[in-house]
Symmetry: C2
């Protein structure tokens, strides 16, 4: 494949607009970047010229000059999954409102891939970037720091995070779900979690749950900690096998996706939820509320996080300063619904 070079073809540039409007290119540029500085008739002439010509400014050319692209990056473990889609949409919509755009990519829970993606985004000159959680390689941070590009961690919250973060307290979410089951009188409880190796959110939830259980003197056999990917099918399959043989009275699912799978499995086996088994999730994804039985879970305010992440990054980029509130906690909400009950 030989190299093509795109000719500008029919697309007019700022110079054509300036010529037609009878002003200098500088003035046209100002018309866009500092609208209030160009006055009355000049203003109108430019507006008309641009419209007549169908001019669309080339922000890249500007970027080259002043270093700001108006594009922000968001790197998530996965797009195709209820988990982050609300976050993505909110983040994107907020940027759109502020006349910026979003570059997004998924790394599939592979941190080396994440590093590669950061690099690739940097090549495209982003004004800031949001990463999920705290588990990352060191390299991307060096690259970002050298270029003074704002980074924030999103989705998880730690009081003394090293980088600005906006998220919820996943440890607390874990405590809550465990606490809830304990209060309902459950003593034989199983936990279903994904591999927590490079997933601090899951790890924190699990710690929260386990610590709470231990604090309440609830003993757990090692085989009561199950590993399961965030996948309905996998969860359903796992559940079916676990439910065959002396199942616990309650399951703590690391997130709603797993919980959905477990509920479907119960329905499939004719096990009554919450009659025979209680199931609790974390996330409150779309649909959890409408499931039958409606899922007891912890609501993670993904929209709020998305909006706040965008705003924070925008401000960091504008001021060049870290946010005044370094670690921002977004409140969780416990959603007691129909999938758990007193024993």
């Amino acid at each position: 494949m030989e190299k093509r070079t795109r000719s500008r073809k029919g697309a007019p540039g700022i110079i054509e607009v300036a010529k037609l409007a009878g002003v200098s290119p500088a003035t046209v540029s100002r018309f866009y970047n500092a609208p209030d500085i160009v006055k009355g008739p000049t203003r109108n002439r430019i507006e008309k010229a641009a419209a007549d010509l169908g001019y669309i400014r080339d922000r890249m050319a500007g970027t080259l000059h002043n270093g700001f692209s108006g594009t922000f990056g968001l790197i998530v473990p996965t797009i195709d999954n209820a988990i982050f889609s609300e976050l993505i949409e909110a983040f994107s919509a907020r940027l759109q409102e502020r006349d910026r755009t979003m570059l997004i990519a998924a790394h599939g829970y592979d941190l080396a891939m994440e590093t590669a993606i950061v690099r690739s985004l940097l090549e495209r000159r982003i004004d800031g970037i949001a990463l999920i959680g705290f588990d990352h390689e060191a390299v991307p941070f060096n690259m970002l720091a050298q270029r003074d590009i704002p980074v924030i961690s999103v989705w998880n919250y730690h009081k003394d995070s090293k980088i600005p973060c906006i998220g919820m307290d996943n440890y607390k979410a874990g405590q809550w779900v465990a606490q809830h089951l304990i209060e309902l009188g459950h003593t034989d409880i199983a936990c279903v979690f994904p591999d927590t190796k490079s997933n601090d959110r899951a790890r924190d939830r699990l710690s929260g749950a386990l610590d709470t259980l231990k604090a309440n003197k609830i003993k757990m056999a090692p085989n009561r900690i199950l590993t399961c990917a965030y996948d309905i099918g996998a969860a359903k399959t796992l559940a079916k096998s676990v439910l065959q043989d002396k199942p616990p009275s309650a399951f703590i699912c690391c997130n709603d996706v797993i919980a959905h799978g477990f509920i479907y499995a119960c329905q499939s086996l004719g096990i009554n939820v919450p009659g025979d088994i209680s199931i609790i999730g974390i996330g409150d994804f779309g649909g959890s509320e409408h499931l039958e039985p409606a899922l007891t879970t912890v609501r993670l305010p993904a929209k709020r996080i998305g909006v706040q992440a965008a705003d924070t990054l925008l401000k960091m980029s504008d001021t060049g300063l870290p946010p005044k509130q370094f670690a921002q906690a977004i409140d969780l909400e416990f959603m007691e619904r129909a999938s758990t009950r007193k024993i």
Copy 2:
């Protein structure tokens, strides 16, 4: 807020790399763009210099010169919804493999907003763009044509589409679901569809279903065509009210999201599916297979479409030519499962 200008700070440019490697900037540039043209020792010196300096190329500067940004746009109605997430992920992943990135935005089924987004992406210099379906304003196409930017329509398929398209035959999907219910002996059937005003996919499905019903002499009272947004909660609420009063024996749901809502509603009311009511969807989204009862639906190969869309756009951008196969149909697959039964 006063203007900031980002100083390049610690970030080295191609010139620094060249200096350190003892070659000209042109050679460094070639090292990246035509790796095979720069040889042995030179090659190694550049590689080392770049690594030592932590050099990251600035693709924007290059774009300015040759017109290619390596970024492609994807505009969808909504991100936060099972419908398009698989497509988005596949499209993005494919571009990533080819060292490109994706700019994505959602217009919320608002075509004027879509036009604004296209403009905004154009300002960022994309190499190509994919839009969902065939319902669009004329403006974006003019802007794209003037600049000779490849566009494709994705998700829907029409034999003689005016622009290159990759998608499935939604009309056929509509026929299939209707046909299936007819074969099972249903005669009182309701359709649950979103507003089809600016949604050609839904419109085509509805036409397919209605035409098939009519061709089989099945009469439908006007109140058997229900309107419902793609939202589980809305669908469940609607279903609950409809199911109270002489419900039909089967529901055709425009997509699986609506079907999920209907199934939950039935469970909630103690109505047996498929015993009392048959429910069929379109989409085969994640989870439909695992629902209880598993949802009978039509699989839309979102992943295949995403990959093929990326490949097609890439080729169009590389060659400057329309794809040899102008309209690409992706086969549907009928998934007969447990939510429908013979009457």
